[in-house]
């Protein structure tokens, strides 16, 4: 009887000690020392893993400087004038229209990645906005709760683990990588609402060249307008705007592929 009692008591005592043991809180149990901080820095998990491969950095920086000059003396003024003269509701319609044009290719890329739900949502958005939304001017699909995230060929290639390649700073276009630029060029070529290289609809010229030039120009101005505040901040705050833009671009792309 006493042996049983002792055994039960020991087991209960052992278990209660475990129950009341506080998990070691690394950061609050002692004052931070150099060793603690080194451990914290080592255990820090980045938001997304970014690999910076920039073997053409010298020439990229030269192109960046040329882009900056072009932007400061011309393009920035065009974007700021656009913002000043066109009211926000009208700019929103333009953005909706331009965004709608790229939805078919986004849907194709979603399906290519096996993201069926997103592909269907993207395609439905295109159909609804093109019809009920008067050629894409109004985002009726979003008001009905249909959401999607944009996918392009660069993201599809990244999804299948194709390496991003080298960082590129392209004239006028800006930051990209060998993978993303190739993806962008192919998307542009095969998009039926652009160059339509695959002759979808039985006709190579589904839309005429003037439409392509007009929408491409409008797209550039709209994009630059959306980046006015961000670029102003980078120019004012950054020690090395090229390095800031390079990292931000690569991190954003890595995140988009992860989604």
């Amino acid at each position: 009887m006493s042996k049983k009692f002792l055994l039960t008591f020991l087991v209960l005592f052992f278990c209660s000690a475990l129950c009341h043991a506080k998990p070691q809180n690394y950061s609050s149990s002692r004052l931070p020392t150099q060793k603690n901080e080194d451990h914290e820095f080592e255990s820090y998990k980045p938001v997304t893993t970014v690999k910076i491969s920039d073997p053409y950095e010298k020439i990229n920086r030269k192109i960046f400087a040329i882009n900056e000059t072009f932007d400061r003396y011309f393009f920035e003024h065009v974007a700021k004038t656009y913002r000043k003269t066109v009211p926000n509701p009208a700019r929103k319609l333009v953005r909706n229209f331009l965004s709608n044009l790229s939805l078919p290719i986004s849907a194709v890329n979603s399906f290519a990645q096996g993201k069926i739900d997103n592909g269907l949502a993207t395609f439905s958005t295109f159909l609804i906005n093109s019809t009920l939304g008067v050629g894409g001017l109004f985002n009726i699909a979003q008001s009905k709760g249909i959401t999607y995230h944009f996918e392009d060929l660069g993201q599809t290639l990244g999804y299948y683990n194709l390496d991003q390649g080298s960082f590129l700073m392209l004239p006028i276009i800006g930051p990209s990588t060998t993978r993303d630029f190739s993806g962008w060029a192919i998307d542009k070529a095969i998009n039926p609402l652009s160059f339509n290289a695959l002759e979808i609809g039985g006709n190579h010229d589904l839309v005429d060249n003037q439409f392509i030039i007009a929408t491409s120009s409008l797209y550039s101005i709209d994009t630059r307008e959306s980046l006015i505040d961000i670029i102003d901040d980078i120019r004012q705050d950054s020690f090395d705007p090229y390095a800031t833009i390079r990292f931000a671009y690569l991190q954003k792309r890595a995140r988009e592929i992860q989604k």
Binding site: K45, D240, Q251
Partner: protein, 209 residues
């Protein structure tokens, strides 16, 4: 008799295991709640200051800077953003950099928050990652229904919570700065970098936005 003792032992063992598991889960979820409340308070306090109509722009700027200074661990962030280059600085340069970086952070990013006169800020989820927490939130601007995804990386130090990073739409502030500062030091050297940081801070302090 052995069977009875064994079954009692198994019963007691499972009781204690479930107590440990539930107490640990409770401790974790209460820490995550603490982080959620902390970040929501910080976010909404800044929105309240930005929305305050009776305050001048300069006063708003000053109040927001003070709020941010209270909640960030600028020393930790300073050491993080320099990475390997921090270890190569002299003790005097380390001291100088930590002070300059704090002034740079609060005077650069503080004033930007006065434009955050949005509707609401809320935290949807808190995730523990080793010794840090990621609070995933969204900020709903006044003139749009599209939320801006804003996450915060948080750490507990000496029983108090501190913000280490601000992540907007997937882009981390301190990781971007780390890349930028190290590129600058690699190209120009630490001495020139510290001089540039010093003149930037002086310019920010005299700049009234």
């Amino acid at each position: 008799m052995i069977k009875k003792t064994l079954s009692k032992f198994i019963l007691v063992f499972f009781f204690c295991s479930s107590s440990i598991a539930s107490s640990m889960a409770f401790a974790q979820s209460s820490e995550e709640s603490e982080v959620k409340i902390f970040i929501e308070n910080v976010g909404n306090q800044i929105i309240n200051i930005a929305n305050e109509k009776t305050l001048s722009e300069a006063k708003k700027r000053e109040k927001i800077i003070n709020e941010i200074d209270k909640v960030i661990d600028s020393e930790w962030i300073a050491k993080f953003v320099l990475g390997k280059n921090y270890k190569n600085l002299t003790d005097l340069q380390k001291k100088e950099f930590i002070q300059l970086y704090r002034d740079f952070m609060i005077n650069t990013y503080g004033p930007k928050f006065k434009n955050y006169n949005g509707k609401k800020f809320s935290v949807n989820e808190v995730e523990k990652q080793s010794s840090f927490y990621i609070a995933r939130g969204e900020f709903l601007p006044k003139d749009s229904n599209e939320p801006i995804l804003t996450d915060f990386r948080v750490k507990k130090k000496d029983g108090k919570l501190y913000v280490l990073d601000f992540i907007a739409e997937g882009i981390s502030l301190i990781e971007t700065q780390r890349s930028e500062f190290n590129a600058s030091i690699d190209n120009e050297g630490a001495e020139v970098f510290l001089k540039n940081l010093d003149s930037k801070v002086k310019k920010l302090k005299t700049n009234k936005k």
